[in-house]
């Protein structure tokens, strides 16, 4: 499963829902698929999508999705503990695990050295689902979105980035304002 295929599947499940997207290639590739007011792509702040998504989930009853990478989660691993401690039932954290920092010159992440983020997530007591294909991801994401339990999905994806994706040169103030305004819109 390529990242862009995973992102398209997640977008379809969470269409109309708040969706926080980690920085780098994930944000760029998602923007190439769809740009929605309900999307909050982080243009930097690596490792912050999880905490931001947690705050959003605590502030709304809507289903909230968060897309992180393995490298970003490793940069802020404590997010998993805090998510477990708060356990907002409307939150789904999806970790796209390509075992590398694909946005940092494709250098290996520690996930390539046997570090299991699914194991860490389970160890912290979080409901954790592992998937390795698009259909499995879509089904797991839909189940998690519709469930009343915080869920972590670890999706094994291919390394590398999709070629030809432009930089996401949006103004973060505009992104933030659009996202805020989406809470005034009816949910799907």
């Amino acid at each position: 499963m390529k990242r862009i295929e995973a992102l398209a599947a997640i977008d379809e499940v969470f269409v109309g829902d708040p969706l926080v997207i980690t920085c780098g290639a994930s944000a760029r590739e998602m923007a190439s698929i769809a740009r929605r007011n309900t999307h909050l792509p982080l243009l930097d702040s690596m490792g912050l999508a999880g905490p931001v998504g947690l705050g959003i989930a605590l502030g709304t009853d809507r289903p909230v999705g968060v897309i992180e990478g393995d490298g970003a989660v490793l940069m802020g691993l404590q997010m998993l503990a805090t998510i477990k401690a708060q356990s907002p039932p409307n939150l789904t954290l999806i970790i796209l695990d390509n075992h590398q920092h694909a946005s940092a010159d494709l250098m290996n992440s520690q996930a390539a050295d046997g570090v299991s983020l699914a194991g860490a997530s389970r160890g912290l007591g979080l409901l954790t689902i592992e998937v390795d294909d698009v259909d499995g991801l879509a089904a797991a994401a839909r189940d998690a979105r519709d469930s009343d339990q915080v869920t972590v999905i670890v999706a094994d994806i291919e390394p590398g980035n999709t070629a030809g994706i432009p930089f996401l040169l949006a103004d973060p103030a505009v992104l933030g304002d659009s996202f805020r305004r989406s809470f005034a819109e009816p949910s799907s």
């Binding site: 912050l48 905490p51 705050g55 959003i56 605590l58 502030g59 933030g176 805020r180 809470f183």
Partner: protein, 176 residues
């Protein structure tokens, strides 16, 4: 050694209540503990974060949904928080008030912490984050008004704003 609450800290809590605080995100600190416990005692929802940048993310997310959310932390944690404060809260125009106790000044008992904490106002100023500081020369009513007004300004101008509380100053304890 943690200090008990005193009229100035109580006034800071009153200021957050006057603002209408709904949720606060806090990072462990013995000197913020009186403020944290007072807010908890008033029934304000709290979220414990393990690092300050995480607190910025959580409080920022809450604020984006319209919740009146603040951060309570210690000033040496701004070293952890600077990237999140600038590339998320400031860049995305997220209004998050931050109330932080200071370290490293008069009354300090740790021979190291001033190396960072003394420079926090300058560091925050360097990245464009507004700071107001309250100390023993400021009467409690000014603590209350400043904390409330700072929170209002943060939300109205959609940016993180910091209020530093000099809770270790010996004169503050003498005044209590």
């Amino acid at each position: 050694m943690p200090r008990p609450s005193n009229p100035s800290i109580d006034a800071a809590v009153d200021g957050l209540s006057d603002w209408g605080i709904e949720t606060f995100v806090h990072v462990p600190s013995s000197h913020s503990a009186p403020l944290i416990r007072a807010l908890q005692a008033r029934g304000v929802t709290d979220v414990l974060a393990n690092r300050e940048e995480e607190a910025v993310g959580i409080a920022g997310g809450l604020a984006m949904t319209g919740v009146k959310a603040a951060i309570v932390m210690q000033d040496n944690g701004f070293g952890n928080a600077l990237t999140a404060l600038t590339t998320f809260a400031a860049a995305y125009h997220v209004g998050v008030p931050i109330v932080a106790n200071t370290r490293g000044g008069l009354g300090e008992y740790n021979a190291m912490i001033h190396v960072f904490s003394e420079h926090v106002p300058a560091l925050l100023a360097a990245v464009g984050i507004r700071v107001d500081t309250l100390g023993p020369a400021d009467p409690p009513h000014l603590w209350r008004t400043t904390v409330r007004a700072s929170a209002e300004l943060a939300v109205m101008t959609r940016r993180p704003i910091v209020t530093l509380l000099d809770v270790l100053h010996p004169a503050l304890e003498e005044a209590s």
